[in-house]
């Protein structure tokens, strides 16, 4: 081993190392970090979503039974990573289960009259208020909740979260009730749903 040779560092060398070193360091760290955080910046700071902001038809108010929820499977178009170009890189989709039930499981009186025609604005408003359109992902850690007819409750199999038919929290570790989709009822009684949540952000789904 040769002996160590410790030459003094000149002012110029010191400055050069400081300035060029910082520049090299900046180029090697800042773009990679922003590159990797692309979805975070777009989602959290710019408020973009992978799911286009469209209304999707779910079903009709006449299909919702009394005393239990109806499970719909909705295919949300999803633009993630590959943004729908060319036959190989097609637009992806994400199928979600959406739970729809009446408030307290009671069919509103408007429907019991056998009114099959178009609804007026006030009737639509009433129907809208009587509906629960919920995500089936537990508000705790996202597991799929299930309806137990004999108990009349939603139960989460993971950590035992319990919800009412309205999606309200009864017990267990979840911090809140089931996430609710933005929805609207049209004149012919069709329910439309949007990938948007009115109480909290569930992530993942």
């Amino acid at each position: 081993m040769a002996e160590l040779q410790k030459d003094p560092v000149t002012r110029g060398q010191f400055l050069f190392m400081g300035v060029v070193g910082s520049l090299v360091g900046a180029v090697m760290t800042i773009p990679p970090v922003v590159f990797v955080l692309n979805p975070t910046i777009k989602t959290n700071l710019l408020g973009q979503s992978d799911i286009p902001d469209d209304w999707l038809e779910l079903g009709s108010v006449f299909e919702i039974p009394s005393g239990e929820p109806k499970v719909y499977r909705v295919e949300f178009p999803q633009e993630q990573t590959y943004n729908g170009g060319g036959p190989l890189l097609g637009e992806d989709s994400m199928i979600q289960a959406v739970l729809v039930s009446w408030k307290e499981g009671e069919i509103p009186s408007i429907l019991e009259n056998g009114d099959q025609g178009s609804f007026s604005t006030s009737e639509i408003e009433e129907l809208t208020q009587d509906l629960n359109v919920m995500s089936n992902h537990c508000a705790h850690l996202g597991c799929p909740v299930r309806w137990f007819p004999d108990r009349g409750e939603f139960l989460c199999p993971c950590h035992g979260g319990i919800y009412t038919i309205n999606g309200g929290l009864i017990g267990g570790p979840p911090p809140q009730g089931l996430y609710k989709y933005a929805y609207e009822v049209r004149e012919d009684g069709a329910i439309y749903v949007k990938h948007e949540f009115t109480n909290g952000e569930p992530w993942v789904v």
Binding site: P39, T40, N44, S49, Q78, T81
Partner: protein
């Protein structure tokens, strides 16, 4: 017979070894590694560390092999694993080794950590090695977690979903953690791509050099630590100290009398 084979082998190997030694010094290095004295009493306990290393090497090997067929897209990930399990020669073996050695690795690495803790082997001057060991066990745990999400089957997906939801509860930055791991605001192709890059590139790339440093520091300080390796020497020391103390006591006794 054996001695003749030995002599013949030496005749061939010796010149090659000398030639390599002159140019790289690798023979001296090997001798330095191989002929180091290690404590006899800890022999079987110290196999835990080498077993961990062996299992991690199995992970690297079978992991690279699986990548010959695995396709990290939501459309094909599950099918490619199904293909490995049904159509590829030794597919179930290679994937089985990857899966089972990962499971056993979790046990062995835990035992290795417990052994290190209870024998007090983290004490000066080996603190840095303990810290690196804790980092390694963290990396292995995250690797185990991301590994089964790559299957893109129900079990792996829901575990990953639960993991992301836990991440979304991180104080202050929860939402950012969730979107970072998802690659968006929903689970989809970007999520699988992220799991893939974390499991296959990021963490192994961090793991490998840390294992190197772990081994280097182990060699630097030696595989010593537990007191039971020194019991004879400690007993000798105590005996000598007691004799000295007794002599001192005797002396003091005489002084007080005189």
């Amino acid at each position: 017979m054996i001695s003749r084979i030995k002599g013949w082998t030496l005749g061939v190997v010796q010149p090659i070894a000398d030639w390599t030694e002159e140019r790289t010094g690798v023979v001296t290095m090997l001798e330095h590694f191989l002929y180091e004295p290690v404590p006899k009493r800890g022999k079987w306990l110290y196999t835990l560390g080498s077993a961990t290393l062996f299992l991690i090497n199995l992970q690297f090997l079978t992991g690279i092999l699986l990548l010959f067929y695995y396709v990290p897209t939501t459309d094909n990930a599950w099918d490619s694993i199904y293909y490995i399990m049904t159509d590829v020669y030794f597919g179930p073996l290679i994937r089985g080794i990857h899966f089972w050695s990962a499971n056993i690795l979790m046990i062995v690495i835990g035992m290795h950590m417990l052994r290190t803790f209870f024998s007090g082997a983290y004490k000066a001057p080996r603190e840095i090695n303990w810290v690196i060991g804790v980092v390694l066990i963290m990396l292995v745990t995250i690797l185990a977690f991301t590994g089964y999400a790559l299957r893109w089957d129900q079990e792996g997906f829901w575990a990953w979903e639960v993991g992301i939801k836990i991440g979304s509860y991180t104080p202050f930055v929860g939402a950012y953690v969730a979107t970072f791991l998802l690659g968006g605001d929903t689970a989809g192709p970007a999520t699988l791509a992220r799991v893939f890059v974390i499991h296959v590139w990021l963490l192994p790339a961090a793991l490998a050099p840390l294992i190197g440093i772990h081994l280097y520091l182990l060699r630097k300080h030696g595989e010593f630590g537990s007191e039971f390796e020194y019991s004879k020497r400690l007993a000798e020391l105590r005996e000598r100290q007691q004799i000295e103390e007794y002599a001192l006591y005797e002396e003091g006794d005489e002084d007080s009398r005189g």
